[in-house]
């Protein structure tokens, strides 16, 4: 066998030759449509298993998957999760449950499928996924994980970006780039179009001149931003509109930040050291107009200062000293820690300590579950919600694997904040700082995006407590009054110094004409963008809802997921594939935040299923 292997070219590994892998990305108005296609052939004398692995962003929805074996196509079919589940009851009862999609690391999900291919047969895998690229720190980022298992005859990544506002900058960062590969990475942009291409030759893929292993292993990240001559941009196509809003050059609204930090015993050692490191860096970035305080909780609650204090140089020096001397001990009293922080902000506002035009936020960091004081999560949620009363957001950072993340997420969402995982890695301090940077620069508060009442319907979320510098608010909806010539969008918000109303007026006829020319690339993207955003927001609302409201939200999200063929936490994609001369089926589910991380073993049985919701 060894002799035979040596005689085969490098393209063939264990009898399988992968002769092309193409990752084709089309981005239109931040909405990315990605197609990953791999073609392989079984060069062996016997049937072989060919597997197809793709890591895609957690924020993406799979929309299609097909396998074509010897000209016969086996398509994926998106179904309601419960319906799909019934088909697998037998497999589930036998314990043969492994999904096609697994959570993989911080940002990714891994889609894996394998199929037996007869000797001499060809197979083509094609996976399609879509996502709305979000703007962070002034850039949209498209992340592609590159990890082919072997050298590939034709490997390419091609991204075409079309942005009606015009592209301001475009970059591609490749973690495995070498001087040789630099020549095959091209990026260009002009006006509204941008293009990135990466086509290494067969030999350029080798990890060394005589190696048969691939050096293509790592991150391929495309970042770009659009021109912002105007604070907003409204696009209308085929009866759907999208409004992107990101004003610039506004002063930062002063903020009042209370850090509520878990110093229970489980935080000892590296976690506390990383927390201290992050807080010390954050203190360097605090602006003098800001107010702050620290609340530490374990079995008890301690405060740095009795009241919120301004971030004067003297106070910051004292704060650094306080942070450096934090010690861990005891249990986890989340309830009292949070209530103390909320009370502090409320009292400071009532006493007039805080600036009138300022915004308050509470950032809690914890690594565990409430296990002393009030430990019933429902009760803590209720207490926190009542104490905040919708006046300011709560951000929860969940540190490590043991944290009750669902509880933190639900509590953050019902208080207009978000929850983030802080992964217990060497860069946990950078993750915390990164989160702080995102919320450190509010430019507007109480942002309300208004549209002509009778002309639109099914609008996505159109009011936000904050607009942060470097981010972007996206609102989409249906246009019902297609006869009207103009479409006016007003955005009202409170800035650091003044109240602002931005007005965006669009001549619908003119826009239609302008976009007709671009239809080859535009198509129904705004409609799909609207569907994606609507589903995403319905799913988020659903996390907080109970009873009938939850049922309604679920029904709406499910309806749209099925209509637009999105694999969301409510749907599964059933993949039918031939195995041993009989057709069997597999399932692609979207794993939730709580799904098991990685450690995925390719299943040996053709029945795969897991409920990742």
């Amino acid at each position: 066998r060894n002799n035979r292997k040596r005689s085969l070219p490098d393209t063939v590994v264990d009898g399988i030759e992968i002769y092309s892998t193409k990752i084709n990305c089309k981005v239109t108005s931040r909405f990315a449509h990605n197609v990953v296609t791999t073609r392989a052939v079984n060069r062996a004398d016997t049937a072989k298993e060919v597997s197809f692995d793709v890591e895609l962003p957690k924020t993406a929805f799979i929309t299609n998957f097909t396998m074509t074996i010897d000209g016969v196509t086996y398509p994926g079919n998106v179904k309601e999760k419960e319906v799909a589940k019934k088909q697998y009851e037998k497999a589930v009862s036998q314990g043969k449950t492994a999904g096609l999609v697994k959570a993989s690391g911080r940002k990714l999900e891994k889609f894996t499928v394998s199929v037996n291919v007869a000797a001499g047969s060809k197979v083509t895998f094609e996976l399609t996924y879509e996502e709305l690229l979000k703007r962070h720190k002034g850039k949209y980022e498209m992340y592609i994980k590159v990890q082919p298992k072997q050298l590939i005859n034709h490997f390419e990544i091609v991204a075409d970006i079309y942005e009606p506002q015009g592209i301001k900058e475009l970059n591609a960062d490749v973690s495995f780039i070498t001087n040789d590969l630099m020549n095959v990475l091209t990026k260009s942009f002009s006006g509204k179009k941008g293009h990135v291409s990466f086509k290494p030759s067969f030999d350029q893929q080798r990890s060394c001149p005589t190696c048969s292993t691939s050096l293509l292993n790592g991150d391929f990240i495309i970042t770009y931003d659009v021109n912002r001559e105007q604070p907003g941009n409204v696009q209308i196509v085929n009866g759907y509109f999208v409004h992107f809003f990101a004003p610039q050059n506004l002063p930062i609204v002063p903020k009042n930040v209370v850090f509520v930090i878990d110093i229970s015993g489980s935080m000892s050692g590296r976690k506390l050291a990383q927390t201290k490191d992050a807080l010390l860096h954050i203190l360097n970035d605090v602006k003098e107009d800001d107010f702050l305080n620290f609340i530490l909780f374990s079995s008890d609650v301690t405060v740095w200062k009795e009241n919120m204090v301004q971030a004067t140089p003297e106070n910051l020096k004292e704060a650094r000293n306080f942070v450096e001397n934090m010690q861990t001990a005891g249990l986890t009293n989340i309830n009292d820690g949070l209530l103390k922080g909320i009370e502090m902000v409320n009292r400071a506002r009532e006493m007039g300590i805080l600036l009138d035009r300022s915004t308050s936020i509470i950032i809690m960091l914890t690594d565990g579950e409430a296990n002393t004081g009030e430990s019933r999560v429902d009760k803590i949620q209720e207490n926190v919600k009542n104490a905040i009363g919708g006046k300011f957001p709560l951000y929860n950072l969940g540190f490590g694997h043991d944290v009750n993340y669902n509880f933190l997420e639900k509590m953050a969402l019902e208080n207009h904040g978000v929850a983030r995982r802080i992964y217990e890695d060497s860069d946990a301090n950078l993750q915390m700082q990164g989160f702080y940077d995102e919320v450190a620069n509010p430019l507007l508060i109480d942002v309300d995006l208004q549209y002509p009442q009778n002309a639109i319907s099914d609008v996505t979320q159109n009011n936000y407590q904050h607009f942060y510098d470097g981010s972007e608010i996206v609102v989409a909806g249906k246009v019902v009054d297609l006869e009207s010539n103009s479409f006016v969008a007003d955005v009202k918000g409170h800035g650091a110094l003044n109240d602002l109303t931005f007005t965006e007026e669009v001549d619908m006829k003119e826009m239609e004409e302008a976009l007709k020319e671009q239809e080859y690339i535009f198509g129904d993207y705004i409609e799909r963008l609207w569907a994606y955003l609507t589903i995403e927001q319905l799913l988020e609302k659903r996390k907080n809802a109970e009873g009938e409201e939850k049922e309604n939200l679920t029904a709406q999200a499910l309806d749209l997921s099925l209509k637009y063929h999105f694999v969301t936490p409510l749907t599964s994609m059933v993949v039918t594939k031939p195995e041993d001369n009989e057709e069997t089926q597999s399932i692609a589910d979207k794993p939730g935040e709580d799904a098991t991380q990685l450690n995925y073993q390719p299943p040996s049985n053709p029945y795969y299923f897991v409920d990742g919701d």
Binding site: E229, Q230, N249, L250, P251, N498, D499, T501, F502, T503
Partner: protein, 240 residues
């Protein structure tokens, strides 16, 4: 820049030009009581003409200060910047935005004009005049219109501000001028006897492209005799 002074009591208007070198800052309005000052910086054409007296000048930068509100507004054909308590907000002429703050209201109407209202009874309109970007000679410039000044004090001065108070003039002896369409006349104003010419200037408040013709008596020689002192008295060192 050309100045037009409407005199409603006479149902007529006076006008004059001020010619100054690029970079010169002129005081247009100054009211020590309300703390409002408006200054304008002169720009010329892209390329200066070699012929004497052929160089036109415009306002390329306007600065508005409202001391009592701790507010400064700087307007150029590219950008609008507001400082309030030393903190800066910046906008472009591509924005359509209304900014309100304790009695101040600034509305930018995309690529057209902006309206600045300071308290009740002081409103300025700044008009953006855009020319073709690749024009070999002309460049974008600004116009300033006072549409409400009734809260400005009687101490208000400046090239425009001095005319916020009622004043009288008389025109007589209308006679043919060097241009048959533009008769000359004699005007008595501020105790000066001047030779003026009937002409017209344009008001761009409503239509920044074409403008509306305003007939006026043109006072020659940088408004000599009509303005208090001479025009160089209004040169100030800085925009703010």
């Amino acid at each position: 820049p050309h100045f037009i002074i409407e005199v409603p009591e006479k149902d007529d208007a006076l006008c004059f030009n001020i010619d100054a070198q690029p970079g010169v800052v002129l005081n247009l309005i100054q009211d020590p009581d309300t703390g409002i000052t408006v200054n304008g910086e002169i720009i010329g054409e892209k390329k200066a003409s070699s012929e004497p007296n052929k160089n036109k000048s415009y306002f390329g930068k306007l600065g508005i200060v409202a001391l009592q509100m701790d507010l400064q507004v700087e307007v150029t054909p590219q950008r609008i910047t507001l400082w309030s308590g030393g903190r800066k907000s910046s906008f472009t002429w591509m924005d359509t935005v209304t900014i309100t703050q304790n009695g101040l209201s600034v509305t930018i109407n995309r690529k057209k004009n902006m309206v600045v209202s300071i308290g009740d009874g002081v409103t300025f309109v700044i008009v953006l005049h855009q020319v073709w970007k690749k024009h070999p000679i002309h460049q974008d410039f600004l116009g300033l219109y006072t549409v409400d000044s009734h809260r400005m004090s009687t101490k208000t001065h400046g090239l425009l501000g001095q005319f916020f108070h009622p004043f009288d003039f008389e025109v007589f002896d209308v006679r043919p001028g060097s241009d048959p369409k533009k008769p000359d006349a004699t005007m008595i104003v501020k105790n000066h006897k001047l030779t003026v010419t009937r002409g017209s200037q344009k008001d761009y408040r409503k239509d920044s492209g074409q403008g509306t013709k305003v007939f006026c008596w043109f006072v020659h020689d940088n408004g000599s005799g009509l303005i208090d002192g001479v025009h160089t008295d209004y040169i100030v060192p800085d925009l703010f």
